[in-house]
Symmetry: C2
Subunit: 335 residues, 2 copies
């Protein structure tokens, strides 16, 4: 299923005068017509897109008319596309959103956890905050699912199961956007309980290229994609949170870079100005590898120029420090 031929080294971690660790992976940069602009490794092998496809999964929320019917704002669209930190601002916004559409956090089918941003998690523990399902890093996506279900009259319960109309719509969108048949590809379960669908990296790249350049799609989808891109650019904190790569890049680049992380070393991006989509997967599943590789792609395709790169240094080539905060090494791209 998965090719065991070695993919190229995309990222190195140095310590002192030596490369200590490194990350192999595969990536594709594509145009909406299917042209491959840049690639590395086996782009035809399957992968699980994980949360990196949340902007694609938000399409039914907008396209169905649910977002308009419930007068959702940019922050809600951004949350629907998010893997947020579970900071109080995220959880509170999700809670208010669900109440606004006549539902409640108890209807979310994801499990609570402390904020994945360590200082925020420590503060929540110190403040003895009662965690709710709204603190789950995927609660915004789930709220988007519930909003769509509510608008279209689906029974909300069980919305995380593959047979539920919510999930069926998502698979259809992925197939349409990636121009692929996902009916018999591998299945798994995601951290938040929804199915993950095996997909070729190349097909995911095409889907993201169409997010960047939807001109060949029908009018309703074009409009939905533009609204999703605008929502994320307008509320980048809601897409991730304090200290996060997705938020930092989008705060600086606005609509020029829709970037979204997924678990196990996945990253997706859409660059509307260049009309390019990106999909990448680090073999070993590490987020640090995926971020630095995505940073290099943002640089290589002109989305981040030298001036922006200087400001975004801590995301593009993060420094490794010890517990005392002293410099120990660097993360750097190797392709």
């Amino acid at each position: 299923m998965m090719s065991h031929a070695a993919n190229p080294i995309l990222v190195e971690a140095t310590r002192g005068s030596m490369v200590e660790s490194f990350h192999r992976g595969r990536y594709v940069v594509m145009k909406a017509d299917g042209t491959v602009v840049a690639e590395g490794g086996d782009i035809d092998a399957l992968m699980y897109p994980r949360s990196a496809i949340k902007p694609l999964l938000a399409i039914p929320l907008v396209e169905s008319g649910a977002a308009d019917a419930f007068k959702l704002e940019d922050k809600h669209i951004a949350l629907a596309c998010s893997s947020h930190n579970g900071e109080e601002e995220h959880a509170n916004t999700v809670k208010a959103w669900l109440e606004h559409i006549g539902l409640s956090v108890e209807m979310l089918e994801c499990a609570p956890h402390y904020s994945i941003h360590p200082p925020a998690g420590i503060k929540q523990a110190g403040d003895q905050i009662t965690l709710t399902k709204a603190h789950n890093n995927c609660s915004g996506k789930h709220s988007g699912f519930l909003t769509t279900a509510q608008h279209l009259g689906d029974t909300p319960a069980g919305y995380i199961n593959e047979s539920h109309p919510v999930q069926q719509r998502l698979i259809k969108v992925l197939e349409e956007m990636g121009d692929c048949d996902l009916s018999s590809t591998p299945r798994g379960i995601d951290g938040c309980g929804i199915p993950v669908i095996g997909m070729r990296l190349r097909d995911l790249g095409l889907a993201m290229a169409r997010m960047a350049d939807p001109s060949g799609l029908d009018a309703k989808r074009i409009e939905a994609i533009k609204r999703i891109r605008k929502g994320c650019a307008a509320a980048p904190f809601m897409v991730a949170g304090t200290g996060r790569f997705c938020t930092g890049i989008m705060e600086e680049c606005g609509e020029d870079a829709l970037v979204k992380v997924g678990a196990e070393g996945v990253y997706c991006a859409a660059f509307p100005k260049q009309g390019l989509g990106v999909a990448l997967k680090i073999d070993d599943g590490t987020q640090r590898g995926a971020e630095v590789a995505m940073g290099a792609i943002l640089r290589q395709h002109g989305v981040i120029d030298d001036a922006k790169a200087e400001k975004l240094k801590k995301y593009l080539t993060p420094v490794l420090t010890n517990w005392a905060g002293k410099y120990a090494g660097d993360m750097r791209p190797a392709f």
Copy 2:
């Protein structure tokens, strides 16, 4: 410096019906006479041994007579070899140890952090514990350094610098045990502030083989090594802590398996019954990769039999779950 030829896949992470991520690396299993019993990847390339060599770094503490002079117990020897969780029991034992030898936690030159065992860290935050340097996961090793310095009359301050007698003794021990010249290999800084010394994986394997079978060494070193092995086996909680691979394996295997993790995907082991030493490094630096690879080596060389393997399943082939605790996939060896 580091070879870029692909090392073999040692560990796979599955999700549903697919391998989602995998970890390449290199390992060597050796006898004390230098014979290689098993190997994978480039064992002659350099690596940083990180904390996996703490049992070797404890040799001067015992060999110098410091451990006897201060009547150290097994728990102190185990702490000297530890990368502990920073749970209260670890921090309190370190504090009492330093006071017992006439020093204090303030003399430690490592930085405090919340417990690296998430439930313990959350509890510390909730209880508003004041963190001290004794909570640093390397505080036991540092206390061993201070004890040796105190016994031999070194000025304690600056004991983390390479020029300090404490560090010079450690480099000498590594050179003797690994039969290698480390005078001009790469240098870096560790998470706790001490120097890390570039070493060939093969030489580290030899040093660990001599920990397993020290019969060719001088009497004082043989005695020191036996005491270190006994101390770790008698107090495995102190070597790591709740939920940790090192602790779990040693609780079950006792003196048959001295196993020690290091940062960036390093693991070392000594199997006295088989007279074998092990050194392994996962290319990408992930701990999950290193643990599952070490688990396979423990199985392959008869240290863990079928009955023990059943009990130790959660360490050897851990299950991946989602936030709700539902099964999502497996970690498994691939060599």
